[in-house]
């Protein structure tokens, strides 16, 4: 069954409509990806699911429960975790403090110690850096820290917004491997990515967002072979 169901969402920035009648399902245990050019509305969609932006109409349900009126922190408690674009670490806190803040919700607090060890096992670089100020990490390490912080929240749905942004190609590959293995461990993932090739290869299902509308949907492989996709990106 679908873990997340978005139905006929319309979102506005002031007077400007950013999302039009978005319909989307994310299946449990799958890796779903949303691709699309800059300013297509991908981040807006994730922020709406997180509750940071409010839809003007439409509904969102998670695990069968309507969540569109819950404030962001209640959604986090339900397990909807977003790793935002630009990572948004707490720059003046140590890596470990950042990770601990990931375990802010009551349930995550109980398993904080245990999860911290798990995160360090998956992302050993964080253990080496745990006393370091998050702001002083390299871009790749910051992204790992953000992923680790997300895992500390014990996500049922982990949403990643442009995790490859500003990273060197080798780091990008490593990071995608990490994301894939998190998914294989059983966490449902919703990935927003500009790096279309990687994202589609990994994805079970994918959506293409253009100008606030979903224009294509299908399995990752199907979309990878779609000529329209290239046109959407390069206008050729």
């Amino acid at each position: 069954m679908s873990l997340l169901r978005v139905q006929k969402i319309n979102v506005f920035w002031g007077d400007l409509q950013a999302l039009f009648e978005i319909e989307m399902d994310v299946q449990e245990r799958e890796l779903t990806t949303i691709v699309g050019a800059n300013a297509a509305g991908k981040s807006t969609l994730l922020n709406t699911i997180s509750g940071i932006l409010r839809q003007r109409s439409g509904s969102i349900s998670f695990n069968g429960q309507d969540i569109e009126h819950l404030p962001p922190h209640r959604r986090v408690e339900l397990g909807i975790i977003q790793i935002p674009e630009g990572r948004l670490l707490f720059p003046n806190m140590s890596v470990e403090e950042n990770l601990e803040l990931g375990a802010y919700t009551p349930i995550a607090r109980l398993k904080r110690k245990e999860n911290l060890e798990k995160v360090y096992a998956i992302l050993p670089v964080l253990r080496d850096r745990r006393k370091q100020r998050a702001g002083s990490l390299s871009g790749g390490e910051q992204q790992m820290c953000a992923i680790g912080r997300g895992l500390m929240s014990m996500p049922k749905l982990l949403m990643l917004d442009e995790p490859s942004l500003g990273l060197a190609p080798l780091v990008v590959q490593e990071m995608f491997k990490t994301i894939q293995s998190i998914n294989q461990e059983g966490t449902t993932i919703l990935l927003v990515e500009q790096n279309v090739q990687f994202a589609l290869e990994m994805a079970h299902h994918a959506f293409v967002l253009e100008n606030g509308r979903i224009t294509l949907r299908g399995t990752g492989i199907e979309l990878l072979q779609n000529e329209h996709l290239k046109k959407a990106y390069l206008g050729i």
Binding site: L16, A39, L165, Q194, N195, F198, K230, A232, L234
Partner: protein, 245 residues
Amino acid sequence: MIIEAKDVTKRFGGLLALQKVSFRINNNEILGLIGPNGAGKTTLFNTITGFLRPEEGSILFEGKEIVGKRPFDLCHLGIARTFQLVKPFSNMTVLQNAIVGSLNRTNSVREAKERAIDQLHFVGLHDKRNVLANALTINQRKRLEIARALCTRPKLLLLDEVMGGLTPSEIHDMLNLIIKIRELGITLFVIEHIMSAIMSLCDRIIVLHHGQNIAEGKPSEVGVNPKVIKAYLGKEYVVTQSPKN
């Protein structure tokens, strides 16, 4: 050639936002500027228009060095711009917004008003002239930005994503508007994300990636440039897709 930039470098703390960017724009040309998020496009606009001062490099406008000049000085010289996130004077009417631009070339409000009305006709906002700017739709706001900039009588106009957030038919109209602006003899430098639009519009395109100018040329050339495809779609896309083309 109206403007020529050489080795423009801009740092923010440790981050190199622009690395030795060089380019030139010919008279009455439409030059496109594209690149993925965070490539430094708006930073480049800000350095050309005097909002940021580059650490290194020179920018010649009609043969004169303009690095170090302030935005309003540059506006007097004939460089105007729009902003990616539009900046209307919200509590002024559309006409008053445009008058502020016209006053760049005159001290008389009456004269300024005449020019403002002409430019509002030109962009199709004349009907809205007595409405407060904060009551406009996004499409109208983008047009107001353009009208206001045209009121200053620019020789070079920099457009920062004037098509972002518009519907396809609005984009079509906007493309026509930009072509009409060029017919007035104005040179245009355009940042745009909507590829199909920019490809059909521009005479030439330059591509920024991580603050570097990675490609330059006709739209048809840039579109098939492996470096550009890689910058946009990721490394392996080229490998698997390009043999088919």
